[in-house]
Amino acid sequence: MAWLFRTGLAAALMVAAVPAFAHHGWGGQEEAVTTLNGTVVQGVSLAGPHATMKIKVGADVWDLTLAPPARTERAGLKEGLIPVGATVTVRGNRNLDHAKHEMKTIYIKQGATEYHVYPDRE
C-alpha cells in the first residue's frame, strides 16, 4: 500500500502546483483601472457563475463581467434596474488581451446612482 500513498501524494502535489488561472481571479486582467462611457445593449443578468452586462462604446460592444450574482445583487444591481439604452460610466480592469473587449467591473454609475460592485478595488 505504501506505493499507493506515495503515488497519491505526488499526484496531490502536482495538482497543487498548477498555477492560478484567470477566470475566477483577476490574473487575466490589467492592473490599471479603465473608465468607459457607453450605452447599455444588454442589461444586468444575475444568472450564471457571475453577473454580466453588455455596453456599447463607440463601435465596440464590451462584455462586462460583474461579481457573483448574490454579491452583485447586494451591491444594489438588480436585473432590469438599468434599462437598455441607458448611458452608463463603468470602471474596471480590462482583459490583458486587448482584442477582447471584456472588463471585470468594479463600479457602475447611471445618472446619479452609483453601484459599488467591488468597493475594496476602487
Binding site: 477566470h23 443578468s45 444568472a47 450574482p69 448574490a70 452583485t72
Partner: protein, 165 residues
C-alpha cells in the same frame, strides 16, 4: 467550432430549460454547481476504488464484493452530474462557443462510456461474480480500468478548465 454546434448552443440557451434556470435566483447556479460536484465526487470516487482494485490494489478484498456498490454509486453520480450539467450549460450556452475544453470533455465522456460498455460485456466482467478469474481475464479488466481512469480524469480536468478559458 462547427456552426451546427453553435446553433445547438443557441437553441439550448433559448430553450425553456435555459429560461427556467436563469429565473431561479442568485443562488441557483451555485446550488446546481454543488450538485454537479457531488455527482462527480460519487462518480469518480467510486470508479477510482474499483479501478485501483482491478489494477491490483487491495487484492484481499474480493472483486465481487467491491464491484456492486462501486458501480451503483458511480451510476448515481453520473445521473447527478448529467442532470445538473445540462442546466448549467443552458444558462449561458453561447459563452462556450469556441471553448476548446468542451471539445475535449465530451468526447472523453463518450470514450469513457464506450469503455464501460465494452468492460461490462466482456467475459471477465460477466464471470467475476461467479468464479475466480483467469490471469488473462484479470489483465483484460486491468486494461479497462487503466482506460477508465485516463478517460474520466481527462473529462474532469477538461471540465474544470472550461471556466478558466
Amino acid at each position: 467550432m462547427s456552426s451546427s454546434l453553435a446553433h445547438f448552443f443557441a437553441w439550448l440557451e433559448h430553450s425553456p430549460l435555459g429560461v427556467f434556470v436563469r429565473s431561479l435566483g442568485v443562488w441557483s447556479y451555485g446550488v446546481i454547481n454543488l450538485v454537479h460536484i457531488l455527482g462527480i465526487i460519487l462518480l469518480f470516487g467510486s470508479i477510482l476504488i474499483l479501478d485501483l482494485r482491478l489494477l491490483g490494489a487491495w487484492r484481499q478484498v474480493p472483486l465481487a464484493v467491491l464491484s456492486r456498490p462501486t458501480t451503483t454509486m458511480a451510476q448515481i453520480g453520473f445521473v447527478l452530474a448529467v442532470s445538473s450539467g445540462i442546466p448549467m450549460l443552458s444558462v449561458k450556452t453561447t459563452d462556450y462557443i469556441g471553448n476548446p475544453f468542451l471539445l475535449i470533455k465530451f468526447p472523453a465522456i463518450a470514450l469513457a462510456l464506450l469503455n464501460v460498455w465494452l468492460v461490462h460485456r466482456s467475459t471477465a466482467w460477466r464471470a467475476h461474480r461467479t468464479r475466480d478469474l483467469l490471469p488473462t481475464e484479470n489483465r483484460r479488466l486491468a486494461r479497462g480500468a487503466a482506460l477508465s481512469l485516463a478517460f474520466w480524469l481527462t473529462a474532469i480536468t477538461a471540465g474544470r478548465m472550461i471556466g478558466y478559458w
